[in-house]
């Protein structure tokens, strides 16, 4: 693992619940009623090499000093309730893996420009145009010229592109937020199956009507 690793640390005893390579998943895990926070472990940290999977924090108990150092402590030093919380976070992390994949895949399907700021800039340019009076910004005029389109057609195409992508991405984000909350309420494997099935239906199932 060469990327920053994000560990989820309990406020109760500063022991580590789990680790994720994904910042969004780590913050999602930390946004539940379980009192915890995240901390990045950078590649230059000596700990970084040792952490090969989340099992590293399951086989043993590691305590943070609040900075970058982690110290292994004996299991007897943590409470049973903390260990149970760690199990719950691990269970939720299982489903957050799918949540992350499905959100990513859904958003990827509507990501049509290499330059991620394009839609925001184009929207701002379109807002500066006075279409009914035939006034267009230089960027919009150039877009139409390069695309070999009538300027009104180019404006219609751009507006449609921006509105379509924004609407879909907005909806996907709402869905991701909905399931972040639902996953963070999971306590058992049965809960997980129920939420997973609903999440699948909401992400993909309705498109086969």
């Amino acid at each position: 693992m060469k990327d920053v690793l994000y560990i989820v640390i309990s406020y109760e005893n500063f022991c580590v619940h789990t680790v994720s390579r994904n910042l969004v998943t780590a913050t999602a895990l930390a946004s539940s009623s379980i009192d915890c926070f995240i901390q990045g472990i950078f590649p230059q940290s000596p700990m970084h090499k040792q952490i090969t999977s989340r099992d590293f924090f399951y086989d043993k108990v590691w305590k943070s000093d609040g900075k970058a150092a982690l110290t292994e402590i004996d299991k007897s030093q943590v409470t049973d309730s903390w260990l149970a919380e760690r199990d719950v976070i691990r269970l939720r992390q299982d489903l957050f893996g799918l949540w992350e994949q499905w959100t990513h895949n859904a958003l990827a399907r509507v990501s049509s420009t290499k330059w991620t700021l394009f839609n925001a800039v184009a929207k701002s340019e379109l807002e500066k145009c006075d279409i009914s009076n035939g006034i267009f910004t230089p960027l919009i005029q150039e877009y139409a010229r390069v695309r070999e389109m009538e300027i009104n057609a180019a404006v219609a195409e751009l507006s449609l592109k921006i509105d379509t992508e924004n609407a879909i991405k907005f909806r996907i984000t709402a869905l991701a937020e909905k399931y972040k909350d639902k996953i963070n309420k999971i306590m058992t494997r049965d809960d997980l199956i129920l939420v997973r099935d609903c999440m699948h239906q909401d992400f993909w199932g309705n498109s086969t009507l």
């Binding site: 195409e157 879909i168 199932g205 309705n206």
Partner: protein, 364 residues
Amino acid sequence: MSLYYFNPIPLTKNTSYAEVNDWKSIYKFISLGVGLNDRTYQFKQPVDSKIYHKYQLPQLSTTNMSYKDCCDKRAKELWDLSIRLQKPLGIMWSGGIDSTRVLVSFLENFPLAEIKDRIKVVTSYDAKIENQEFFRTYIAGKLDIVNVHTLPWMFDRSIILVSGELNDQLFGSDLLRNFMLENASCFTAKFSKDIIIQYVNQRIQNMRVTSLLVDAVVNSATTYGITLDKNADWFWWWNFCFKWHAVCFRSLLVCAPNLWSNLDEDFINNYQHNFFCTDDFQLWSINNSSSRNITKWSDYKYQAKLDIFQFDKNQEYFETKLKKGSLRTVFVQRAVLEGIDSNFKVIEKLNLEDHYNSDNDFKL
């Protein structure tokens, strides 16, 4: 209470009725999300469903109308409705064959200046990608565009929605594509129940249920008064008779909650139209089996493609355009209703206990 529309997924979950597992398996053949409804009432499922009178099969008869005649007549009918209600027509355009044929019907029959005032194109960027030339030539900068992603809020009677739904049902079925790939030699061969059973059972994996479904489609055709001559006809009749009704209702499923009370008989009759949902089109389909006798998949919906070509002269689209599902753009990642009952009351969450039909074909 009988249902006009049901999604089988919730109905087949957590139920104690023994026959539901068998019933569920018929949906392996299509998709679990599409509630079948036999328009001849021969096929009885464990759910109490009903056909809305407007979507019934027509009285069987011959017709001399061509596909183009039907399109022209329908465009004029909807145009007149728009004048009568003083509301614009919102033509849902995905760039595919069906919805392009719908737009062509209006473009051929009315002057552009009047179309500009009367028609809004309900579309998305995907549609532009699917049929770029048509978008550039006839839509962009010429007609008002409404983003299809605001569809849930268009059920407010401010616009008359017109979809390109049901053209698939007139020409056959998208299921024919796989059947054609796997059974090229017998695609246009004389109808053989054994071949259909073998093919369907590869999906369903339950011979009792497969036979039940295959027989139900054959019996319904016989009851209505037509003969399935070729293997492809079985797929057509399944789509035409069993799937038609669900397709008629499905665009309503995305309606925004604050507009649910708008969905009533008046709304269905005036503000939501599937362009190809007329007796003329259905009789054309029944009387023109040759339109389904194709030997390659690119000829699917040939007549519709030919009409489009004669209008826009886009050779590439005519020769290479293949059917592509477009509805997923509208439905994916969106909350949808699970049912609509025969009083047009929407149902967010369906439960089989509330709509169980004990007189069904699936009981052992």
